[in-house]
Symmetry: C2
Subunit: 343 residues, 2 copies
DNA sequence: CTGTTAGCGCTTTCAT
DNA sequence: ATGAAAGCGCTAACAG
């Protein structure tokens, strides 16, 4: 089953072909097709007609070579973001990136960092070979060696979820501090005084921020911070369950737990139900992310909504602006609280 | 907040720079660095050293122009696959594609079809401009005008989830027929005789196959096919709930329902629980996909596992093989049944 | 208005 | 074993 392809060589029409058929020089074809003003109306019409007939498509490669711009953006995603716990977030951001970039005539090239590492190429080398005009970085950790390469590099970049700001490096992230505040305030307004916190892996910058947000929010609500109320998970479903179990056994009077991700919250919810622990009767649960499924678990998960698609769009527009001469900026997107059945 | 970027122009080292510093011709540099045999050992060493010192990275753009191969694969994803119900599937395939492609030195470029449409460019034109070496197509529908362009086009392509086979177009998909058989057999082995089916939108080829698989499996089990036992959903959580409700009210003696996607099955599960319908006591449920969350709903969802990551890898390898002269092929991956708590 | 001339950075005959 | 020259497809001065 199958057909022979063999050494098929596609030979697209070139600008030269168009020039010859139209009886003009390649320069004129270039000008006519790129909308320059200094071309005779008749000539332009003729060139366009011929180009159409010959089905001419200018080579992005040749153009890139001479223009020294590839109209191409690299997307660096660390393994962290492409695992099971990360893809709800990653995919949405990706869509936003792609849409906004495409609107500006840029192509998005996938390039996870492990690949670059395997080839023993540094971040910058990898991008230089491909002549990316800019880069979007996702899932990088603060202690990652890449961090320096990214911020130091003259290659314009926008990092998602870490506040790295330098001459050529901007960032986009959710206001995690405020997100935590929304969660804790909601819980305290429901009367909770003993609120646990299950965090993601601590290498992630968002985890640090959310822990900080949790502490700050407690203080604002006049509640004491208690280290034994914090469990360090890893964003996975399993660690959510483990976190709730650990917290509950260490703190019998716990009445609510805030999770740094919906996936963990859902894991905890499921574990609680298996144990016969009522949610929200015995313990209330709040997640973070508002992934699609949080709406469909039973009861529905109360959570902090992150504008993922919008983060992608913002990052893309920010990068495009930098490529056009704007300054690198840090942009922080506001979270919202979505109240459902677990609180 | 932010720093001025201005008109930063990165000027990477070129082969010429290396040649000059090393005191040889560019030809020699090219040969030395690309591992040709006809280069003096000493010269090669020297060239490599200089290249290293100057941090030389060959321009993929220039190389593409002269080699007439960009080592670049376009990824066309229809809107259908990038919506909420599609991304569990899409992202995993994406990872497989990327990993396998990267291993072979190819870059993956995103290009959803809506973008191409917006620019009024046909599929082929879009790819021609970018000089893709090949294309992976996801989420296309049988009645999509793109179908002809893809199969007819001399541009090597691999389609995911539709059996399109032509000289330059291969495909990769799960054996849906067998997947359905696994589901139905499992259900009948548990004693079910009245088994409903909630399908995805019928424009999708997988939906047709799954409906066919459902019918075939019933027949194999000696069960009659009953049109009123089939509900046409759209892969979404909501339509799953609606499907179960409709099927149940139309068929009081229904004891099991097979869903064409986990998302629909989960929607149904949740609805059933809200209605006080016991799963699997009153009705058994089987899904399709084995998305991560099907393991974490309560009870765990029995489902048909699709090897999503492997589909990506297979599609990528298949395409790479075509680019090296192999024939276009159709590859069908085997599904597995994962038995959990809903049956 | 239009053509001529020069490259962009690299690979590849063809000589030497 | 190495270099000179040509050319991939396109844009951009610079003339006319």
């Amino acid at each position: 089953m199958g057909f022979q392809v063999g050494e098929v060589i596609l030979i697209p029409t070139t600008i030269k072909d168009v020039a010859e058929v139209a009886g003009v020089s390649v320069t004129t074809v270039s000008r006519a097709l790129n909308g320059y003003s200094d071309v005779g109306e008749e000539t332009r019409r003729k060139v366009q007609k011929v180009a159409e007939e010959l089905n001419y498509r200018p080579s992005a490669v040749a153009r890139s070579l001479v223009m020294k711009r590839t109209k191409t953006i690299g997307l660096l995603i660390s393994e962290m973001m492409s695992d099971k716990s990360g893809h709800h977030f990653t995919f949405e951001v990706l869509r936003g990136l792609h849409d906004a970039l495409a609107k500006n005539g840029y192509d998005l090239i996938f390039a996870n960092t492990t690949t670059a590492k395997q080839r023993l190429l540094s971040y910058l080398d990898f991008c230089t070979e491909r002549r990316f005009d800019g880069v979007i970085v996702m899932g990088i950790r603060l202690d990652d060696p890449y961090v320096h390469e990214v911020t130091e590099s003259p290659l314009p970049s926008v990092v998602i979820d870490i506040p790295l700001l330098s001459k050529h490096c901007g960032y986009v992230m959710t206001d995690n501090i405020h997100g935590c505040e929304l969660a804790i305030q909601h819980l305290t307004s429901r009367g909770h005084r003993n609120i646990g916190f299950v965090n993601g892996h601590k290498e992630a910058e968002v985890s640090r921020q959310r822990l900080r947000g949790y502490k700050d929010a407690l203080e604002k609500c006049g509640l004491p911070f208690e280290p034994s109320l914090v469990y360090e998970g890893d964003f996975s479903v399993e660690s959510g369950a483990a976190g709730l179990e650990a917290l509950l056994s260490a703190n019998p009077d716990l009445t609510a737990v805030f999770f740094a991700s919906d996936l963990m919250a859902i894991g905890a919810l499921r574990w609680a139900q298996q144990q016969g622990i009522k949610v929200p009767g015995d313990v209330s649960i709040v997640g973070f992310d508002n992934i699609e499924l949080s709406e469909y678990v039973t009861p529905g998960l109360t959570t902090i909504h992150q504008r993922r698609y919008e983060m992608g769009v913002t990052a893309a527009n920010s990068l495009v602006a930098m490529l056009e001469g704007d300054m690198a900026q840090g942009r922080v997107l506001p979270p919202d609280i979505v109240i459902r059945g677990t609180t």
